[in-house]
């Protein structure tokens, strides 16, 4: 079920109403209802894959409880390995099987031999990368004795399948979400209103920014060999905003929806395009994934301890794995390598955590110029990376960049359906300006004290959603494919 569908528009109020009326008094009943609603939400897309979630839930619940009673190191390691191998095995099969087979065949062909291995027609279960990482985090935390395993299977099931964040995150930690689900939630009007506001902001980002740019981006990337450099720049920049609007919009809707049920999810985006270097960008972009990799991969590998060579190796591993997590394509791996290379200088010179303070461009003219240039530079680097992320193949990405930078030409770009392009430039500029004003309030974009200003903003958001509504556009979320 998509957040931006009529199905969800009916589902959500019904679930919300029943949750706070019929099931309000009994936590167990409330959690059973969450599980039921979440399975319905997921099964709406394809009920057959529910079995995978249920299996994964039972597996990690059981292993977690075994781990509690097991003190022998070897056995504990074995139990953890079972969880990791089975969970990642599912992920590998559904997401990467064809990639490995095709890469294997390509490698053989490259060496002059031919091999006949057929790939399978595998459907990728929506959200598998997200819930696999979520359940894995639980088992690893229990293994590390950082978390007491739960004995409540229903609460654990609700933690794994909690519908607002089931298919595209934020990837929650058991330490944050499980206690909220295991304890009684109280009806908090302010929290619910905050949730609704965040949902509105999320819908704006998805429907106005991401969905309206999508046909333009598709047109430019699909016909990149015929377009001029200026058009390719538009394509790359628009994609940067499309993917941001799409994914951060989804995250905001998810966080907002969770608030309606008395649950606080972690923030996933903190205005990443205002980052002053790549290190800061990764502290602001897809936070739940980058911190997951930090805690469960980078630190176990040694993190920034040990020799410089090991540190650099760890940086590359984390970025390459992060790229590979996004999809079974070499383009994602190259995207990861690019970010590793961009991150490396600040990492080597120990200034990757230089910018942890809040951004303020208007302190002084000098600061405005310097910080604007830093933000612009980071955005350019990130956007070059997005070209690989969006391209079908590495060669297409290189050709795109070659035409963009080295075969410079300019021409006026016309929207594929003939719409006024100025509308899109204006909405993007307005979006950036508004994001600057709310840059410290990712969980409360309508934080302004003035009631009328807030109401004016709600109206503007809804009005923009209508003005840019396009019934011909594909409304699914980009990150569903990951």
């Amino acid at each position: 079920m998509l957040f931006n569908s009529i199905d969800f528009a009916i589902f959500l109020p019904v679930v919300f109403f029943l949750y706070w009326t019929l099931f309000k008094k009994n936590l167990k009943a409330q959690n059973i209802f969450i599980v039921f609603a979440s399975y319905l939400f997921y099964g709406w897309w394809d009920w057959r894959f529910l079995a995978l979630i249920i299996f994964s839930t039972l597996l990690d619940f059981t292993i977690g409880n075994f781990l509690k009673n097991e003190n022998r190191v070897l056995r504990r390691k074995l139990l953890l390995s079972v969880s990791v191998i089975i969970n990642l095995g599912f992920l590998a099969f559904f997401k990467y099987y064809n990639f490995f087979v095709e890469s294997f065949v390509d490698a053989y062909t490259f060496l002059g031999s031919t091999i006949n291995v057929s790939s399978l027609n595998i459907i990728l279960p929506v959200g598998i990368s997200f819930y696999t990482f979520q359940t894995l985090s639980y088992t690893i935390d229990v293994y590390r004795k950082e978390l007491e395993p739960t004995k409540d299977l229903i609460a654990f099931s609700a933690f794994v399948c909690f519908f607002p964040q089931l298919v595209a995150g934020p990837i929650e930690r058991a330490t944050n979400l499980l206690p909220q689900i295991s304890n009684k939630r109280s009806f908090n009007q302010n929290q619910i209103i905050d949730g609704l506001k965040l949902m509105l902001w999320g819908f704006f980002k998805k429907l106005v920014i991401a969905d309206s740019l999508s046909p333009i981006v598709n047109d430019i990337f699909n016909n990149s060999s015929t377009y001029s450099s200026t058009t390719l720049i538009i394509g790359a920049v628009f994609f940067a905003f499309q993917i941001y609007g799409d994914f951060s919009g989804y995250s905001d809707i998810a966080i907002g929806t969770s608030k309606l049920f008395g649950v606080e999810l972690m923030s996933n985006f903190k205005f990443p395009y205002f980052s002053r270097n790549i290190g800061e960008f990764w502290r602001r972009w897809h936070i739940s994934l980058s911190t997951w990799f930090r805690d469960y991969l980078y630190i176990p590998l040694g993190g920034s301890r040990g020799t410089k060579f090991k540190n650099i190796r760890n940086v590359f591993i984390i970025f390459i794995v992060s790229g590979f997590w996004h999809g079974a394509n070499w383009t994602f791996i190259v995207w990861g390598i690019i970010h590793a290379l961009l991150f490396l200088p600040s990492f080597i010179f120990n200034n990757n955590r230089k910018f942890t303070n809040e951004i303020n461009l208007l302190n002084s003219f000098k600061e405005f110029i310097i910080n604007s240039l830093r933000i612009f530079q980071t955005f350019v680097f990130v956007t070059i990376g997005w070209v690989f992320f969006r391209s079908e193949s590495i060669s297409q990405a290189f050709l795109y960049l070659k035409r963009m930078f080295f075969d410079f030409s300019s021409s006026l770009y016309v929207h594929p359906s003939g719409y006024r392009m100025v509308d899109y430039y204006l909405i993007l500029i307005s979006f950036i300006v508004f994001e600057y004003f709310i840059r410290n309030n990712e969980r409360n974009p309508f934080y302004f004290k003035n009631k009328f200003l807030r109401f004016f903003l709600y109206v503007v958001m809804v009005f923009a959603i209508i003005l840019f509504y396009d019934d011909g556009v594909d409304r699914s979320f980009i990150y569903f494919q990951f």
């Binding site: 569908s5 009529i6 009916i10 706070w20 009326t21 009806f187 009007q189 619910i192 209103i193 609704l196 359906s417 003939g418 719409y419 006024r420 509308d423 109401f455 709600y458 109206v459 809804v462 009005f463 209508i466 003005l467 840019f468 509504y469 396009d470 019934d471």
Partner: protein
């Protein structure tokens, strides 16, 4: 719980009011005139209505219309042919009606301006098919007898679905309730841009879900071809049936059509039976600029200009000279 529901509903209502205001201020909604059937049973627009027809979410196309005393969109208030001038009639559906352009620059006006001492009388009405058009000509035969020659616009794929005339169900669109709903401009606007489609399609979706109706398997190419052939034959048959009932003067009436939409059998019939037709296909398909609008299939400014030129040239060659 109920306090919050009340608050949310209040905000929804206030936002709705604000949006209604914005839609009116920016005139985003499309205004449709009211319809009626006259005493001869001909469906028309209620005379003397003037408004703007708007297309697209963000006013991508705006045209002013004026419904004359006769009930059609035109600069000419009354259709009374004079003996010392040439009168041309153009009859057709929404393409001829031309709500997508100011009525002062309609297709008919563009033709009229390029011909000497000629008046072009426009009989365009959205949804007219061949049966409607022939019924109109028959009902007003005294008028059409005085008009020197006429162009009848037909789209083979849409306008020949029936072989007899009956007053259409379109009139039921103008019930008192629908007229009242039309006053809520936000709803009109949302409906036009398709934003209400998911809601309007919901009952059907629920019925399908409950009755577990599954979509039939896709048809094979051969089945589709067969189906298309059957439809083509039926349209051709309807064309002949209608002309038998409402015969027209082959010297005075010219069909305006796009040959790429027509069957060969139909085109051959026209040729073999001395029916005149003016083919729009080549000028529209050869056009460098888009000949249709962004949001719908109707002709754009340049498309209309090309067709006007075609009619003018044809008229000069076959009628005026």
């Amino acid at each position: 719980m109920f306090k919050i529901i009340k608050k949310v509903l209040l905000y929804i209502f206030l936002i709705f009011l604000a949006l209604e205001l914005l839609v009116r201020v920016f005139h985003l909604q499309n205004e449709r005139p009211n319809r009626y059937a006259d005493d001869k049973g001909v469906e028309k627009w209620v005379p003397n209505q003037e408004e703007y027809s708007v297309t697209g979410n963000r006013r991508q196309n705006v045209g002013k219309y004026h419904i004359n005393n006769f009930g059609f969109n035109s600069v000419h208030e009354n259709y009374s042919p004079k003996k010392d001038a040439t009168e041309i009639a153009i009859i057709g559906d929404s393409f001829i009606e031309g709500f997508h352009e100011d009525y002062t620059n309609s297709l008919g006006q563009q033709v009229e301006r390029n011909l000497v001492n000629t008046t072009v009388l426009e009989f365009g009405y959205a949804g007219y098919d061949f049966a409607d058009e022939l019924h109109l000509i028959d009902a007003y035969d005294d008028l059409f007898d005085k008009i020197d020659y006429s162009f009848i616009f037909i789209r083979f794929t849409d306008d020949l679905e029936r072989g007899n005339y009956e007053i259409s169900s379109r009139l039921s669109l103008d019930t008192p309730i629908s007229k009242a709903v039309k006053q809520i401009k936000l709803l009109v606007y949302l409906k036009d841009i398709g934003a209400l489609d998911p809601l309007l399609q919901l009952p059907g979706k629920i019925i399908n879900f409950v009755s577990r109706t599954k979509l039939k398997n896709e048809k094979t190419d051969e089945e589709l071809k067969k189906e298309a052939l059957v439809k083509e034959r039926l349209r051709f048959k309807n064309f002949k049936t209608l002309l038998e009932k409402y015969p027209i003067d082959k010297n005075k009436f010219v069909f305006l059509l796009d040959s790429s939409l027509c069957s060969d059998e139909f085109l051959n019939y026209l040729k073999n039976n001395s029916y005149k037709y003016l083919d729009l296909n080549s000028i529209l398909s050869d056009s460098v600029k888009p000949s249709t609008l962004i949001y719908d299939q109707h002709w754009s400014k340049s498309g209309r200009k090309l067709i006007a030129e075609l009619i003018v040239n044809y008229s000069k060659k076959h009628f005026i000279d």
